[in-house]
């Protein structure tokens, strides 16, 4: 009786998850496969939808991988991500350590959190164009400030210098995201059992020791979460470089996201090349996140899980036998 009832309800599990499944199949899985297929075809030209498979199926992939522009875009993407993620994480860790340390009770902590997180909520398109205006030449606000305080005597054209343009994009990304990372790290640190900190205090650990040997190891999972989400976001960076300078000057801020967009939706509308580049990025993202998970996996926990599973299997076998 009991068992029959259970199977009676089981069908609702499928029914309730059906809308998700269908939407995923139509709007996510099909486009992914379609993108992969287009990568092997000659599909290009505005408004074209029909295609033929290429005689050399990997032609697009080879063309993309050997394209100096794609290589530059990939290099830029990695550099822009690394140079914003590292300072962002360090700043967030420092602030999180300060905000969670009971000895400093920082005045206005709540207000600081609200202000640090604010840039993250504003439309990236707005921010990109705002910074383009702020660094404007000859008379943008940054030039105005620098001249008023006497740092420079004549206006400086920031936006045509490659490394400065890169630096500004890196600054925007860091500025937009360190507040988010900080809040996540704070919640991670607050989630650590206070007893561990008390034990460290009893053992006479100073703040540096506590931070490096107690706090950091205990927020490893959250650091991994931050790292992986930031990596995926970083490898897809589009809005800021696209609207700040459209990948310029001289492709200095061209990311793979902007590259793919430009391949498919401007010039000669090479959907096939863009699709091949998308798939290459897809593989890179999967490989990179997989590698991070593997590198930072909790070895003890993995062992424990294996052990539990083994026990369960044995129990089941024993149960069946009896």
């Amino acid at each position: 009786m009991n068992k029959k009832k259970k199977t009676g309800y089981a069908k609702y599990g499928y029914i309730f998850t059906l809308p998700f499944t269908l939407t995923f199949l139509i709007f996510s899985l099909y486009p992914t496969l379609y993108t992969a297929v287009i990568g092997f075809t000659d599909l290009k030209g505005i408004g074209k939808t029909d295609f033929n498979f290429l005689a050399n199926p990997f032609e697009n992939f080879q063309a993309i991988l050997s394209s100096p522009t794609f290589q530059l875009a990939f290099k830029n993407t990695v550099v822009l991500w690394l140079c914003n993620f590292i300072p962002q994480l360090l700043l967030a860790l420092l602030l999180a350590a300060w905000f969670t340390d009971r000895r400093f009770k920082i005045k206005g902590e709540g207000a600081f959190k609200v202000l640090f997180y604010m840039p993250n909520i504003i439309t990236a398109a707005t921010i990109a164009i705002l910074f383009n205006a702020l660094f404007g030449y000859p008379m943008g606000p940054v030039n105005d400030l620098l001249m008023r305080f006497g740092f420079i005597s004549a206006p400086f054209n920031f936006l045509v210098k490659k490394n400065i343009a890169r630096g500004i994009v890196i600054f925007i990304q860091t500025w937009m995201w360190y507040g988010y990372t900080m809040i996540i790290l704070i919640s991670g640190i607050l989630g650590i059992s206070p007893e561990i900190f008390e034990a460290a205090e009893v053992d006479g650990a100073n703040s540096f020791q506590t931070f490096f040997f107690v706090t950091l190891p205990n927020i490893k999972t959250i650091l991994l979460f931050t790292l992986v989400t930031s990596l995926i976001g970083g490898l897809n960076m589009f809005d800021i470089p696209r609207l700040f300078q459209n990948g310029g000057p001289d492709n200095a801020t061209l990311t793979t996201g902007v590259f793919i967009y430009n391949q498919a939706f401007s010039g000669s509308y090479m959907y096939n090349r863009a699709a091949a580049a998308s798939m290459i990025m897809f593989v890179i993202i999967c490989a990179a996140s997989g590698l991070l998970f593997w590198l930072l996996r909790d070895r003890d926990e993995a062992k424990l899980k294996k052990e539990i599973k083994k026990r369960e299997r044995e129990m089941r076998r024993a149960g069946k036998g009896a």
């Binding site: 309730f16 939808t49 300060w98 400093f104 202000l115 008023r148 988010y180 998308s278």
Partner: protein
């Protein structure tokens, strides 16, 4: 002993100053933007930074609206997309989570692992295939193509499941069944109200991310009447606004100010939501 307390005092002052500096850095660009939106282009060219508003707001507005920038159109389209996709995403994510929590079915664990796996797939990667598919069925300028995919929001399902597991007791579901309630009735009338706090948090983030989205709308929408706000913003970088600094700042301010106000009003919940998402995620 005294030395360490004074050391802490010094540290506190240093930390406070650094925090103030970062806070100014967060606010300054927006302050410059707001003030400059009231100043004329000539004033901005003389001194681009000023804390005193001028009286060119309406002149800037008429310059801004005299060209291709249509904030009301963008606002309405963004509103339609964000409201509808947020409603769909929260409802169906809760429904999917309910299916995963309440019922015992064969593929349940496999399905959950599958949701975890696809959480990492960025939509951008599949965009070429998506565009081709939508183009083939002649739906490129339909907002629905940007709304319907929200039904499958893997990370929200994940969050809802984590929240629902401890919050929804099976006894309530069982007793409702005994009273003769159907499964959908139980979900809509009992589970949904219990999930309200989680839905509210997720709704804020879903709304903001869909409001700010640029990539997908930029590709699918070619009709000016269908442009979303981020696409409208991107027009401000075009040549026609090149010398109209005041108007550009005003356009940016019009798009940022509503978000800033809503954010400051809801900041308590938003900050708590960010923190919550990380612990659960």
């Amino acid at each position: 002993m005294k030395k360490t307390t004074s050391g802490i005092k010094v540290a506190k002052v240093v930390i406070f100053i650094i925090c103030c500096f970062l806070a100014v850095l967060s606010v300054m660009p927006f302050v410059i933007m707001l003030v400059n939106s009231t100043r004329s282009t000539t004033e901005i060219q003389q001194h681009a930074v000023s804390l005193i508003p001028s009286n060119y707001l309406f002149k800037n507005l008429s310059i801004l609206l005299g060209k291709t920038f249509r904030p009301t159109v963008g606002f309405m389209n963004s509103m339609i997309i964000s409201v509808c996709s947020t409603a769909l995403a929260t409802y169906f994510s809760t429904l999917t989570a309910y299916g995963l929590v309440v019922y015992d079915w064969k593929l349940k664990n496999a399905y959950f692992s599958f949701i975890m796996a696809i959480m990492m797939i960025p939509a951008q990667i599949t965009m070429i295939g998506f565009y081709q598919m939508v183009y083939k069925i002649h739906m490129t300028n339909h907002l629905s193509m940007l709304i319907l995919p929200a039904i499958a929001s893997p990370s929200m399902v994940f969050f809802m499941r984590q929240y629902m597991k401890p919050a929804l007791s099976m006894e309530i579901v069982q007793s409702a069944r005994i009273d003769g309630a159907g499964e959908f009735f139980i979900f809509n009338r009992i589970a949904l109200p219990i999930m309200k706090p989680a839905i509210a948090t997720q709704a804020i983030f879903s709304f903001v991310s869909s409001w700010n989205r640029l990539f997908e709308p930029l590709i699918l929408l070619t009709d000016q009447k269908k442009y979303t706000l981020p696409i409208m913003i991107s027009l401000l970088r075009g040549d026609i606004y090149k010398t109209e600094y005041g108007a550009v700042y005003l356009g940016l301010a019009m798009t940022a100010l509503p978000l800033i106000i809503v954010y400051l009003a809801l900041s308590k919940y938003i900050i708590a939501g960010v923190a919550l998402g990380s612990v659960k995620g």
